[in-house]
Symmetry: C2
Subunit: 186 residues, 2 copies
Amino acid sequence: MTTPRERYRAQVRAEIKEKAWEQIAASGAPGLSLNAIAKQLGMTGPALYRYFASRDELITELIREAYGSLETAVDAAGETGPAGLAGALRTWALADRQRYFLMYGTPVPGYHAPEDTRETARRIMARLVAACAQAGPGAEARALRFWTRLHGVLSLELAGHFAGMDLDPAELYAAEVRSLEQPELP
Amino acid sequence: MTTPRERYRAQVRAEIKEKAWEQIAASGAPGLSLNAIAKQLGMTGPALYRYFASRDELITELIREAYGSLETAVDAAGETGPAGLAGALRTWALADRQRYFLMYGTPVPGYHAPEDTRETARRIMARLVAACAQAGPGAEARALRFWTRLHGVLSLELAGHFAGMDLDPAELYAAEVRSLEQPELP
DNA sequence: AGCTTCAGTGATAGGGTCTAACGCATGACG
DNA sequence: CGTCATGCGTTAGACCCTATCACTGAAGCT
């Protein structure tokens, strides 16, 4: 049973995170400003500290959400095999590139992700291994290659490094997916 | 012929960039502070604006330097073929991970790299294509795979995503290098 | 009805970027 | 060699930011 206070609190927390996502999409994580969020919600800056202990904690919470949403996206791909999973990953990433970079982008020296996101990461990896198991032997190694190769194409595409290169990122991505379906020579 | 003024100016600019690199290595690009740099050099914050028009311009200059240093690293690898080039890339990246992420990390929405760094990037890519040409047909496609696959492993390693996974990043990297040496099935 | 809890406020400290006006030394030049 | 302009570095200040603190007032609870 939730009290009215708790419901209100959850509501405001959700609104803060929503505005935070908008700001991050617009100007990246370093551009996120608690003051600006508060203003958008019609309150003053310090009020937000009722809901998040610090700016870092808010960002950590967003990272948590990002991991969670990737997990549900991967789960939703279900038993569609490696190719289906790869497709789901790409559409998920393209839906919000800054969300992708929040997880896989430039690390902040000294920052360590909380343990629960690392657990989520492990679960996602397990899903990946399971999907690769039905495509041949050596599921772990296959899943690892899957991850690194797709991340390679995806992160470069999302960062805009293919701009002006007369190249279709989707095709490049698809080619890597195909490369993962055939067995690797030692 | 350089005047004393010019020499002094170049010297101070170099010192600023040196301290900037130290700060970036220690706390990432968002943590770079002109005030802190000025203090380290024994002057006050505004003095730095004699040397760089803005914080962004200083960072842009560092990005330029990063591209330049990667180009010289790649050039130094010379005619050692794809494998040698891959090794040079990895040691260059490991030498300063934040430098790598300055080039290939999270992009800032709205920021566009200056044209000369894009030219440097093209030259580096040309080197890569040349190295791949001696390893078989389809040099461009091969070079592209080379780039995306190595970046995939390297960026995940540098960001610490392999931590606690009981896995040797160097071996993973080497495996990808091997994968690039064999011809790809369509 | 009274009391407690807590959301939101303004004030304040301390940091950042960046502009503007000002002293002052140094190099340039007649 | 003396004069003068160039330009380096300063302080002051505008305007951001995060974060803390004491306080007010309303809402919920007993």
